[in-house]
Point group: C6
Chain length 77, copies 6
């Protein structure tokens, strides 16, 4: 199996945020592995504020985890 998640540690908060976005997307792929179906759903999804808000909430939850893992990048300038 492909390794897609090596570590939760990132150099900067922004990279941590991008990792949170990635973690959010993987669950959707694991629930609906058929890429064709996901592509079919995407337009409807991308124009629904409900879906945008739902995605944003998941990112927030993962970002909390990644930020804790990185000690909140407190040494960043």
């Amino acid at each position: 199996m492909t390794i897609w998640l090596h570590t939760l540690i990132t150099k900067t908060p922004q990279e941590g945020y991008e990792l949170a976005v990635k973690l959010s997307r993987v669950a959707i792929k694991m629930t609906q592995p058929d890429a064709a179906i996901r592509e079919r759903l995407r337009p409807e999804y991308a124009e629904s504020f409900e879906a945008l808000i739902g995605s944003s909430q998941i990112v927030a939850t993962h970002f909390a985890t990644v930020a804790a893992a990185n000690g909140y990048w407190k040494d960043e300038p």
Copy 2:
């Protein structure tokens, strides 16, 4: 009763993520133990972005728990 959850400790973050997915699915099985009904609901579910987002949020919540249990795998390279 079958033991399906031995430990929250995993070797890698990715295995931790997979455990989070497993933890998410068990609650659905415990609420709706009838596999036939679950199977009947699955197609509708897998094509609903609302359901995909809901599942992804649950995975995120469990992943936070598993990551904390593992000290965020800080020794991973």
Copy 3:
């Protein structure tokens, strides 16, 4: 009043998960104490993916609490 919750400490992670399921159900009973109404709602509930996902999210939230209470069962083999 009946004591239904003695402790958050469990021997294994799986018992902790089962406690999380129990904690989820109690809130529903306290909001709708009439067992007849709950029974009437159950079939509709058990066949709704939205309800299954909602329940699963609550279990995940309680499991986070129970897991923290148990120090994540780190001594488990």
Copy 4:
């Protein structure tokens, strides 16, 4: 103003759970202070699984806070 919340510390986990239920209800009263309207909404509410699940999720969030405040009642037998 009436003091309705003296402390988050409770003697037992079950009392902590009851406090979490109380904390959940106060927000609803503060948002809709008119008791007559709340009473009018109650029947509809109590027969909606969506509402029961939503309430249960709020209780779970507050219970996490109360449990942490009490050090998870680790000295309980």
Copy 5:
């Protein structure tokens, strides 16, 4: 700009809860800055249990933060 949030520290748990309610309301004002529109939405909102539950969940999330900031007011009698 007006300072509306000086500190997360409060003297009592109840004041902490009131701060959590305030924190919940600010996000709504920042998303919809037009007070006239907010007022127009209010009646519909205040009679919808879905909205009441949603608000209550946000208060619960902020209360967790405020309670942690205050060390759970453990010295309160």
Copy 6:
């Protein structure tokens, strides 16, 4: 790529809240990168209490992270 997130550390709780609002908005932009579509959705969004509540919940989740990162600004007067 533009650096939009340098640090989670802010001078005051209010600046921390504003950062939480910013973190909430970025996820929406990353899911729907087309500004024209976002603008088209905005009016509908800004008049929907469901959307306002959803946004407010995301802000609350990010604020918890930012507050923890800042040690809850405990030295603030």
